[in-house]
Symmetry: C2
Subunit: 193 residues, 2 copies
């Protein structure tokens, strides 16, 4: 046997995710990645393959991390309405508090690459399905618990919430006006009021 890796794969991948999240695929250079990841160039290639492969792995990692967060907020027992309000309020705060305006890595990937990269399209598409499912389950629970009587088509509303979430995040990249974003959230959540 031989020497073992001196860095933690997940940690380094997380750093790579940050770079791609901030700059996107095209604008991130391998030199940027080497610098931020803190490992040797060769180790990078040995461990993660080429730039595109690394990007996909970073995207997968993002999905895991953010997917879990969403799950935790929406599956927690209690009012679904409150959970949704908390979720979207949190999105607004995060957006306003990020000087880099990174937005959502999954949304960024959709915008930049989904149209011309099958692998990215597959990931963003399945992420929609997964996120939609989390919304859907929460809506069903809300209905069962008698909280969301006005929601007639939970599947459609779940899809709507995904779209609304992405629209909100995108909008926050252009404007930092809190009132504007809060207006969007207010109207968006009115469909589950």
């Amino acid at each position: 046997m031989a020497r073992q890796k001196e860095f933690d794969r997940d940690e380094v991948l997380h750093k790579a995710m940050e770079v791609f999240w901030s700059r996107g695929f095209e604008a991130a250079s391998m030199q940027d990645l080497v610098n931020h990841m803190g490992i040797n160039r060769q180790s990078l290639y040995d461990t993660f393959g080429d730039k595109h492969t690394l990007y996909l792995q970073a995207l997968d990692r993002y999905r895991e991390v953010e997917g879990r967060k969403l799950f935790e907020v929406l599956e927690r027992p209690g009012s679904v309405k409150k959970a949704l309000r908390k979720l979207f309020a949190g999105v607004v705060e995060t957006a306003l508090g990020d000087p880099e305006r990174r937005g959502c890595f999954m949304g960024n990937a959709t915008s930049e690459l989904a149209g011309r990269c099958k692998a990215t399209a597959a990931r963003t598409c399945s992420n929609i399905a997964a996120t939609e499912e989390v919304f859907y389950r929460a809506l069903l629970r809300g209905k069962k618990e008698g909280e969301l009587k006005r929601v007639r088509h939970p599947r459609a509303v779940a899809r709507f919430l995904y779209s609304g979430l992405q629209g909100l995040i995108l909008m926050a990249k252009a404007t930092q006006d809190r009132k504007t974003l809060e207006d969007v959230v207010k109207v968006m959540l009115s469909v589950v009021e």
Copy 2:
């Protein structure tokens, strides 16, 4: 006096817009632009300046063209609800019919550059304001004509519609499932029903 230009400035700018719209700023090379615009490299630089300047001009042109389309649909006399339905149905059709999945150039610019380019941020931001205004005027008209009695906060709804529009278009880049997109539209428009 001297020789006059042999190409139409607006026509070539339109071609440049198509390139940036399809590929984004980073992924579009000057060689791509030279090829598609059909003019000489030197003429390109003489007429439009460097790549970034050309990009901004292409973005401005897109805003002009698409802004006018939106205006025409929403300012036309008649039912505002119908106009909104037509607008969003059209967006879905366009999205499903575009094999390149270009989405909205303004949205793409927001996603790719607004976070790190002031000039792009300014344009996308003012585009939000302008589009919001068109929605707002249509909503006001709908209220005045007694069609949109349930709309209490037209300003907020206008902002919501912009966000919803962008969310829908982004989503269409990831999934080509018509039902999904139509679900989104259905719920989105329920706030003005």
